[in-house]
Subunit: 497 residues, 2 copies
Amino acid sequence: MTDTTMPNWLRQRAALTPDRVAYETENETVDFLTLYQQVSAVADRLGSLGIRSGDRVALLGENSLEFIRFFHALMAIGAVAVPLNTRLTAEEEAWQVADSGAGWLITDPACHEKALSVCEKKVCRLLTMQQVRKQPAGRSGLPAEADLNQPCTIIYTSGTTGHPKGVILTLGNHWWNATGSILNLGFRADDKWLCCVPLFHVSGISIVMKNVIYGMPVVLSRKFNPQAANRQIRENGVTMMSVVTNMLRRMLDALGEDGYPERFRCMLLGGGPAPLPLLNCCREKGVPVYQTYGLTETASQMATLAPEFMFDKLGSAGKPLFPGQIRIVSEGQDQGPNVPGEIAVKGLNVTSGYWRRPEATRKAIRDGWLYTGDIGYLDPDGFLYVLDRRKDLIISGGENVYPAEIESVLTGHPCVQEAGVIGIKDEQWGMVPYAFVKTKAGCRFSEAEMLQYCSSHLAKYKVPVHIRKIKELPRNASRKLLRRKLFDFIPDSQVTD
Amino acid sequence: MTDTTMPNWLRQRAALTPDRVAYETENETVDFLTLYQQVSAVADRLGSLGIRSGDRVALLGENSLEFIRFFHALMAIGAVAVPLNTRLTAEEEAWQVADSGAGWLITDPACHEKALSVCEKKVCRLLTMQQVRKQPAGRSGLPAEADLNQPCTIIYTSGTTGHPKGVILTLGNHWWNATGSILNLGFRADDKWLCCVPLFHVSGISIVMKNVIYGMPVVLSRKFNPQAANRQIRENGVTMMSVVTNMLRRMLDALGEDGYPERFRCMLLGGGPAPLPLLNCCREKGVPVYQTYGLTETASQMATLAPEFMFDKLGSAGKPLFPGQIRIVSEGQDQGPNVPGEIAVKGLNVTSGYWRRPEATRKAIRDGWLYTGDIGYLDPDGFLYVLDRRKDLIISGGENVYPAEIESVLTGHPCVQEAGVIGIKDEQWGMVPYAFVKTKAGCRFSEAEMLQYCSSHLAKYKVPVHIRKIKELPRNASRKLLRRKLFDFIPDSQVTD
């Protein structure tokens, strides 16, 4: 390992299994050789535009094969892709473009208008994918090799306060994530992964990496649709899929009395702790759920619940992937079994830092360990339970209150579809929990009834001061609950801050 | 990847899947937690004997779980294992101990007597495994981490001329081999590997590595026995197995009219090119053969024939594993499709050199490529065909003659069990091929008949000058044909050199 070079992944994959299906979309099916040739054509043109190794290039687009071709083309020439979240405002995107120092923004037709406003505010060159394709070709063929230490992506993480930070992930970080995952989930000749998560998130990008490293067909969806996803699993041989809680719930609802075929072997559930009722429902339906814990900083999965413990450790995010390590730390001390603390992680999949943020990097990464800011504990068998993101922690009268726990109780109520809990200031206790619920169709209940229900399931200090009904909980592009946006739903009369 | 540390593999495996079966032997079944505890106990005692990180320690023993425990214990404390081939003479083994600078030789009861003579000739401390176990324990537990750049094994390769060379393989080399293999062969929850190859060879060691990295049960056989191997596959759920040609042939013979269950999915066939008739027989019987090409220097498999090409490319060793690259070079130039030349390989699984042999290392490794000395070609689709080891090349009248080709023809004859071909000097042509065959029971034929048979299948210059019958072909411990030993079977009257 004095060397860290590898063959270019797509080139190697095309040489090894040229005829294997790489992607299926609504409109087309491409094998790896075709994909390689298409990507080479894009890379040639990016090269003739003057894009070089190390350059940051922002990518703004919806899920599409074209997006993936551009992503691979940037990777091949050694440029660093900065995928932009399409749900952000133009102003927010412009900020990320500026922060990353991207000299180019490449966009698809769907995002073109917005891209215009992004580049209006910022000195970056706007290129549509079509414009790039019209460039004259440069030299042909992708470079034969790449260095694992080469930065591959900068993905911005949604910060709670202040601006987001750009997480640098190298080819090596992505490689170690993909191989760590295969050692846990296995890999079969008939595997086919359904990608309905956004390609601008690390969850989507990790599927793009698995595709080329494993040589595994991926069904790429433009958008998530529960009926369509169920159809892919039931009728198109999909064996694995990445979801977050909200997606899974909608798929199960749409499934009705039906089930999934036995060959469907992995529902990889990320994006935060899942409520127990949902997991119980999966258990009843025989859906093979693998709860995972991951961050942009860990190139997606860091821990995943192994097959043999799927039911025995319901609600856990499992154990670290083989190359990784997890500790629970509080005030500099490792915590014993069942004692919550901050989750710290280490592994060759973990970022070595934030783009141009030496201070934030130093704060987050100490002695080779990344301090995630998330709260969890390890049970006596070493299984990780993620309680919550630190920023959401509610400390009430000196007691720690974890929103997820309250939400889990609320969604256990037969009338509650979804729930979100935040902490609001309180003169007496410092903070108190405040809950929002989305009611199931055809259900009725009063706040008093619901509070009574909570009191019968939760310690007094955990019972919300209010439980308000709202139409939709605020969620981000990957359907993660945005608790901070719930503050907007508090009536003025109840705001004490 | 600024960092190259990983969790200690066995410790991590025991933490992740403590209850999963690690090994099955005739006498016992151990799970990973038990194996870890047993290995910790050995490592403690090796530590209290003064064995430290970087020390070379020779291991001389037959296939056993105890051998594996010692192997893991050495790896855990950072010592470098030097596994000795039990078929060598004491003198040959003593030479390797001296060359490696091993301060200790650890042996099992079966090899104790021989170990005494080895250490008699050499300043190394002899320890039996039992003696080590009687040492007082030191500190408990294995180190949490190891560096991928840490040398893990020194394995001597059988040289044709002069002394063997010690191939240094790091943890990283073994890691990249194991992950490269999983990307090609896949990994299923029900996989179980049968190990009948010697643990002192890289083929055996690679199974020990796969075991702990994949978390995959291994059935460990003390010795290869075709009936017992078939029983493991037919009755004990074995799904994968490493063999060389000779083992496979004996298994098929012993199988008779029976077949293997469908769950048996991989017969990994290494150790040199396989004769076409054997492969055809496998084809007829539906045995899923994966021909491979590998060296000690590549930490075992370098290329393997992927599932989808099993039948279309019969006789090929396939394509490189995902992290590796293969070139065909002749006189410094890359050769085109179908043109034979020297096989050069590159990849993170490939050794960075020979122990204390800077000159041999410089000669073999140039610009990051290892020149194997083996001859082969790539077909237009990029599939590797290994023709022969360079040392066995017969150049006759300016034409290249590859022994394997002639052997393949000979074994295609209904009366020939095995065949071996060498080149002998000839005044007229420079060299000519000379053949040895082992006859099938109950078969009779004259040399003239057999020569006639060859003439009808081979160009004139490839027909052997003589075809002699012998009882057994000389083979090494891993059943590879030792062509150079065939020279001893030539009658004096026919020796022209």
